[in-house]
Amino acid sequence: MGVKQKGKSLKKSNNALTDSFVQLNVLNGKDIVDFKFEKFEKKIGGEIRPTNIEVFQINIGKLCNQTCSHCHVDAGPDRKEENMDRQTLETCLNIIKKCKIKTVDITGGAPEMNPHFKWFVESCTALGINVMNRCNLTIIMANKKYASLPQFFVDNNVHLISSLPYFSKMRTDNQRGDGVFEDSIKALKMLNNVGYGIEGTGLQLDLVFNPSGAFLPGDQASLQKEFKIQLKRRFDIEFNNLFAITNLPIARFLDYLLVSNNYEQYMTALIDAYNPSTLDGLMCKNTLSISWDGYIYDCDFNQMLDLKVNSKVQHINNFDIDQLMNRKVIVNQHCYGCTAGAGSSCGGEVVM
């Protein structure tokens, strides 16, 4: 049991990519690499505007028990400073109530490591709001204090979304750290035992397939079928849906692409796979993303590039839904990740 970290966060390693300005320069061919690709803004031939707010996504902190090599958040055990405090969570809760938002999507880091996590989930549940939690699975096994999480999730009917890049140890551990696969399987069994992923219980357990390398995810339905067969056959594990999510060239995945000399080929693959029919289903149209310190973004990726919403309202302390709905979504070269093939969002493919 236990996870051996893949390395340190970019921040802890003093990597130049910690500065989002450097990342944007790389993506725009201004720095480090010479590759210039057609501007995303030109490619879509217009602008993206929000339609509504269905999902209020809160990144409650960068602290995590894993240091996955593809993490766009650059999360890890060494990110102790960036965690949402109680006051900011209370402000979020007031907005959710006032704006009658139906779904709250909690992400991180490992959200469960935030000391206010349980209180926040219970407060949302009490208001009848659907709570989605992006659980990395191994947190359940990380420490005795987290062993009660499966029952806590049941009690609050939390919709769980968990990454499992592959149904084998090698591919999973190479991306997420030695020991992650074994702990993930144990955690999945615990979740199955309390009813998660089992037909008829209503307890939703979705898995995320994100490629463990410089390639794009294949067909979601086909991968789901394969994952269901293999996880059942090998480990007697069940789950509901598989979301195929494309890795965006941000933070540690961008670093990996540059260091492994895969950047040009990966960006070319994303751009060649550009599919305009994904534009209507992009998550930036119905989601707001909130950072640990209360700033507002169009999505979690823009958050990590520090591209705050294009609006007078940029912080939850002066939240104004009408002003925010009138904004233009900020796009940049990383957006090609959400428009490749069948598209990609926090809920997987966007074109069915």
Binding site: Y166, F215, P217, D219, S222, L223
Partner: protein, 111 residues
């Protein structure tokens, strides 16, 4: 123009074969697309077969395309290498199986 055969960037030009024969080219791509759709065999299984055939027919474009196809559709390294072993076994086996004819001739001709 590249300065040799089998330039990786030429793979992208595959769809351009319709330039010289549009009708046949389009029919081919329609059929090709349907072949690789999920059917009685999964996309992963079809990608593995394609990878094995690519090795058997020495097609670098196909090896490139179906290495990616296998990874994207959820095949692992072990499955991919086993698929190539199947291709190699059939190629090697076919060579050896032909020796039956040689043996027939030898047995017929020798006293």
């Amino acid at each position: 123009m590249g300065n040799g055969y089998y330039q990786p960037e030429d793979l992208k030009k595959f769809p351009n074969i319709v330039e010289f024969q549009e009708k046949m080219g389009e029919k081919f791509f329609d059929w090709y697309g349907e072949v690789f759709e999920e059917g009685a065999l999964t996309k992963r299984e079809k990608s593995l077969i394609a990878l094995a055939v690519a090795h058997a027919i020495n097609c670098p474009y196909c090896m490139d395309a179906y290495t990616n196809g296998c990874l994207s559709n959820g095949a692992d390294e072990e499955q991919m290498m086993e698929a190539v072993h199947v291709a190699a076994a059939i190629k090697g086996g076919a060579t050896l199986a032909n020796s039956v004819m040689m043996m027939n001739q030898v047995k017929k001709k020798l006293m």
